[in-house]
Symmetry: C2
Subunit: 211 residues, 2 copies
DNA sequence: ATTATCTATAGATCTATAGATAATGC
DNA sequence: ATTATCTATAGATCTATAGATAATGC
C-alpha cells in the first residue's frame, strides 16, 4: 500500500506517467512561486499534457496540489531515512536531520522549496521528517537524554525552526549552509535539554555519507 | 511617517475609511482561509465598497494583501510593546513575548491568524515581533545572558517555533494555551543558553498585566 | 470645481465537459 | 472492445476601465 503496485501493463504505465507529469508540474510551480492560483491550462501545459487529461486524474487544482505536497514529503522522508540508517543516538539523529535537510535545499532544491512553502501545515503530518523526528524525540525522552514538556511542543519547535532557517537561507543565502545548519542543530539540542558543550560536539560531527 | 498624518478634512477621512474597509476585508479573508485567490469582487463586497473603488486604492490584489499583512504586523508589534513596557531582562522579554503571542491568538484571533498564515515570510521583517526580539537577542548576548552562533539563527528558531505552535494550536487546540506557551518559552530560553532550571523559573512568572 | 465612489460592461480569462482520436488488452 | 488522451467550446467567471453619480472644498 505504501509502495504503489508496479503498473502491470502499458495502459497503466501510460496513465501513471501522465499523472506523474501533472504532479511534477505542480511541484515545480509550488517550488518556484508557491502560487496555486495558476490556471489548470498552465499546469497542463507545464506537464506537456492535454488540457482535458487533467480531469482524468484530479477533480480540482487543490487535489493536485495536495498530492504534490505529499509527493515531496515522501521523497524527503525516504532521503532522510537513507542517510540516517545506522545512526542510533536520538540526539545525533535530530542534529543530522536538521543538517541533512538544509543540505537537501542544495541537492534537492525543488523538493525543499515545496516544503518551505507548504511545510508549516504539515508539521503534524505522518509523512516527511515529522514522524521520524517524533520517534526520535520519544526515544530520547525515554532514555533520559532529552527533557521537554511534551513531544508535540518539541516537534513544533524543531519543525518551525527548520522551516524558518530554510526560508531565511532561501531569501538571503549566506556563505556556508552547513555553518548555519550546525548552529541550528546545536540550538535544537540545547532546546531539548542536551548540555551546551555536548550539544556543540554532537552538532559538529561529520555528516553520514551517502551509501 | 510611521503614524500616518490624521486626515485633515472629510474627503481624506472618507478616502481613508474606504481604504481601511478594503484592508479589513483582506485581513478577514487572510485570517479565515489564507486563500488570496478570492476575486476582487468578493473582497469589495466583504468591505461593503463599490467594486470600482478598489482601483482607487490598490493596483492589484497582491498590493492589498501585502498591506493587510503589514497592518496586522503593526498591530501585533504595538500590542507587544504595550505589554512589555518596563520589562528589562531580555530573557523575560523573550519568554513573555512568546506567551503573549499565544494569548493574543485568543484575544486578537484575526490578527494572529493572518500572521500564522503569512508570518514565515516576515520573520526578517522590520515590523511585528521580529525587530523587537532581535533587539532583545542582541542585548542578551551583549550582557552575556544568551549564547548563540548568530542573532539571525536564534531569531529564526524563535519565530519559526512560535509560528509552528500557533499553527498547532489552531488546528488541534489543547486545554490551556498558556501551558503550551510556557513550555515553548522554556524551550526557547534553553535554546538561547539559559540554564534549564532558570529557564523554567523565568517561563513560569506571571505575565505582565495590561495597563 | 474637484475628487471619490459607484454602476455597468467589454474583453479576457478559466473551468468543466462533450466528442473525436489514438493506443493497448485480450 | 476498452480506455486514456486530446481538441474544441459553452458558459461562467474575473479584471480593468469608462462614464455617471454623489459628496466636499474653497
Amino acid at each position: 500500500m505504501s509502495t504503489p503496485a508496479p503498473p502491470s501493463n502499458r495502459f497503466e504505465r501510460r496513465r501513471a506517467a501522465t499523472r506523474q507529469a501533472l504532479v511534477g508540474a505542480a511541484r515545480r510551480i509550488l517550488a518556484e512561486s508557491g502560487d496555486t492560483s495558476v490556471s489548470i491550462q498552465m499546469i497542463a501545459e507545464q506537464a506537456d499534457v492535454g488540457f482535458g487529461s487533467f480531469y482524468n486524474h484530479f477533480a480540482s487544482k487543490d487535489a493536485l496540489f495536495d498530492e504534490a505536497v505529499l509527493d515531496a514529503l515522501e521523497e524527503y522522508g525516504r532521503a532522510i531515512d537513507e542517510r540516517l540508517e545506522g545512526v542510533d543516538d536520538p540526539a545525533e539523529r535530530i542534529a543530522f536531520g536538521v543538517r541533512l535537510s538544509v543540505s537537501m535545499a542544495g541537492t534537492h532544491p525543488e523538493t525543499m522549496q515545496v516544503l518551505r512553502h507548504q511545510g508549516l501545515a504539515h508539521i503534524q503530518s505522518d509523512r516527511g521528517l515529522s514522524p521520524r523526528a517524533l520517534d526520535d524525540l520519544r526515544t530520547g525522552a525515554a532514555i533520559g537524554r532529552f527533557s521537554f514538556a511534551s513531544p508535540e511542543i518539541a516537534l513544533a519547535a524543531l519543525g518551525g525552526s527548520l522551516l524558518a532557517l530554510l526560508h531565511m537561507r532561501s531569501t538571503r543565502p549566506t556563505a556556508d549552509s552547513d555553518d548555519d545548519a550546525r548552529a541550528m542543530a546545536e540550538a535544537m539540542l540545547r532546546m531539548l535539554g542536551i548540555p551546551p558543550d555536548e550539544a556543540h560536539t554532537i552538532a559538529s560531527r561529520p555528516l553520514p555519507v551517502r551509501d
